[in-house]
Symmetry: C2
Amino acid sequence: MPEKPSILTRRTVARSRLFHVEEMELLFANGARRCFERLVGSGHGAVLIVPMLDPDTVLMIREYAAGTQRYELALPKGLVEPGEDLLDAANREIMEEVGHGAHQLTHLTSFSIAPGYLSHTTHIILAQDLYPERRPGDEPEDIEVVPWRLSDLDSLVGREDCTEARSIAALYLVRDRLKR
Amino acid sequence: MPEKPSILTRRTVARSRLFHVEEMELLFANGARRCFERLVGSGHGAVLIVPMLDPDTVLMIREYAAGTQRYELALPKGLVEPGEDLLDAANREIMEEVGHGAHQLTHLTSFSIAPGYLSHTTHIILAQDLYPERRPGDEPEDIEVVPWRLSDLDSLVGREDCTEARSIAALYLVRDRLKR
């Protein structure tokens, strides 16, 4: 593993309600200097949950995505609140978004989404042994819950409204894991 | 599919060299109004390439990621230049990053990375029938090329330095596709 570059300077170059852009000047081990901009996340990260209704049925959600300006079919997810345990955050999110809690929650791995310019981390949580429980969320409209069979992942990934890389990676990961 | 919300207002709330943050006020079909912030991308998107040296060997790269401030093992990728064809962009990127071109390039699908707040699209390109050809890139230090066997994807995804969701999703997708 190469030696990490040193950070010579860092400063905030833009800020909005949600986003914080930092500029860093880096000195690489070979002497090269470069300026990079990155988005600094909230620090607590997010959870993305794979809620299994039974060993072959995952609960997806269809929700409006303001970034791409269209409805997206993806796994439930949300930000971890300050001081909140990852598994508690996962259970809260599935109660709010798919109307179920889980007796069994497992942290499988953690993904980055654009490590070149985002500090953001998403923790992938497998939720099993579900029970019905709905908690109110802060969504502007009702979320549609869409059950999908993991044995039919090919046709899901081929859909134009299922494009979110973290959800697709997590679905393959869980399908492989549950097959074993 | 629900009716898309109408965009009542949109304005730029922050801007830096790389990033453009837009605030939008949306009116949902049920009458709910919400303000969202999103990052608006360059408009041309990015390509992420799965370069197959042989039917079981993919060429990964190890590169410093300024967003997460560590070295990351991932697939080669880069921005599409204005007016550039997606497959040409993919071939250029693998010449710069892994020292190979490809006689066969296939656009498999396109991923979003955080559709809730990023407009960004990444086109996934399968590169086969490789030939050695290196072009100079703009990287601050030499990129390490790491061949990996698709039949050993489990141990790759279990590594702490292989976390990038688009790469992981693309590797599973190609493994499944080449198995058929």
